[in-house]
Symmetry: C2
Subunit: 229 residues, 2 copies
């Protein structure tokens, strides 16, 4: 049925296997079959080569994933951010989320200290700059960035994996069982939220929460005077 070397997307037979062609093939697998299907062996099969041939062009899987991030972030458009520093800080924080949300394989590289450098350096810059213009010192801005980064990671990770859990919904969720046996005396708040819990946690309140968090990180600080009308 299918010829041994498919013609879709750029993996031509005679092409001499480069980092670029590897990246292209990997992105294709990612888009067509999802992040869980992307393995060195699967990728080798896609390129009709031995798994080990890959290791001549990338050091290991981790490096490959960072290459994928870099490749996708190169082509991304950089939106214009608001002038007002407070608005800009919020917009940058949202962008951090949006940029990283593009990578379904985030799970495996989230903790890499290299991820931000490769994927969203300019967002980082914008965020730090806005924070400083809001009145934070550079060190405080770095801490604020760190807090927003942690929050964003949590949001993304929980969203991507709980979507996976929803897909395999065979399990009757231990939560429901536990919630059902709770005494309202010992757990008044949890029990009164119990049935609404799935609906409440499913709603995407990222933007709202981010507003509050940014507010808290800035404290009562006013932007530097005279920079904007």
């Amino acid at each position: 049925m299918k010829p041994r070397n498919g013609r879709r997307g750029g993996a031509r037979r005679a092409a001499p296997l480069s980092q670029e062609s590897i990246v292209v093939a990997a992105l294709r697998i990612l888009d067509d079959e999802g992040p869980r299907q992307l393995s060195m062996r699967r990728l080798a099969k896609e390129l009709s080569i031995t798994p080990m041939a890959l290791y001549h062009h990338v050091r290991d899987k981790h490096e490959l994933l960072l290459l994928l991030v870099a490749s996708r972030s190169r082509g991304a458009v950089r939106p214009v951010l608001p002038d007002d520093p407070r608005e800009r800080l919020l917009a940058a924080a949202e962008l951090l989320h949006d940029v990283l949300a593009q990578y379904p394989f985030l799970r495996e590289i989230l903790a890499s200290p290299d991820l931000l450098a490769v994927a969203a350096l300019w967002v980082m810059e914008a965020l730090l700059d806005a924070a400083v213009e809001c009145g934070l010192t550079l060190e405080e801005a770095a801490q604020a960035h760190q807090a927003i980064w942690h929050y964003t990671v949590g949001v993304l990770l929980i969203r991507t994996t709980s979507r996976r859990h929803h897909a395999e919904l065979t399990r009757p969720t231990q939560r429901e069982q536990v919630f059902a046996t709770l005494s309202p005396e010992a757990f008044p708040r949890v029990t009164s939220l119990a049935d609404r819990w799935p609906a409440l946690t499913a709603r995407d309140t990222h933007r709202r929460a981010l507003e509050d968090i940014v507010e808290g990180l800035l404290g009562g600080r006013r932007p530097h005077p005279g920079e904007h009308a």
Copy 2:
């Protein structure tokens, strides 16, 4: 050297293999060798049985991990929280972090909707209650809980995995390379932080950030009057 059936910790030879003995053996592997070593096969070896024997007592690995969480959280002491609702909210948020920080295999179950129900239901109750007493509606309290939960997950996940990355420090970190080639004109904030970056991100500022985040989530709200002096 070592007898086939070690006598440490409770895995006796004649014992008929129960959920409890499985959990005990799993916790032992976790403590002695770390979360990455905990596999169904390794666990079976520890108990001197076939991997498949395990599946007679637990549905799958995910269920086993939740059993481990439940087992550890059963024995935990519940500290007394401050009376002042604002202080209590902050203390509960810190507890959420501390409780979950106990589980090195968090990575694999973080996204499970069952995790909180099994591990930290009372912390959740305390957090929601404190938020309501701070003046939030129950729905707002649930959203605040959600935001704190996301933030906490991010902190824990990044910490546990970046520690792993530091251990295998062979790689010269792509971040350093990228940072070195940045032009100060295009990235003034990032470049001026560059050398301090590792030190700044290594510092544990969880408590400080949490204060700010809680502050932001509460907004200007005052606690319910007359409940506390």
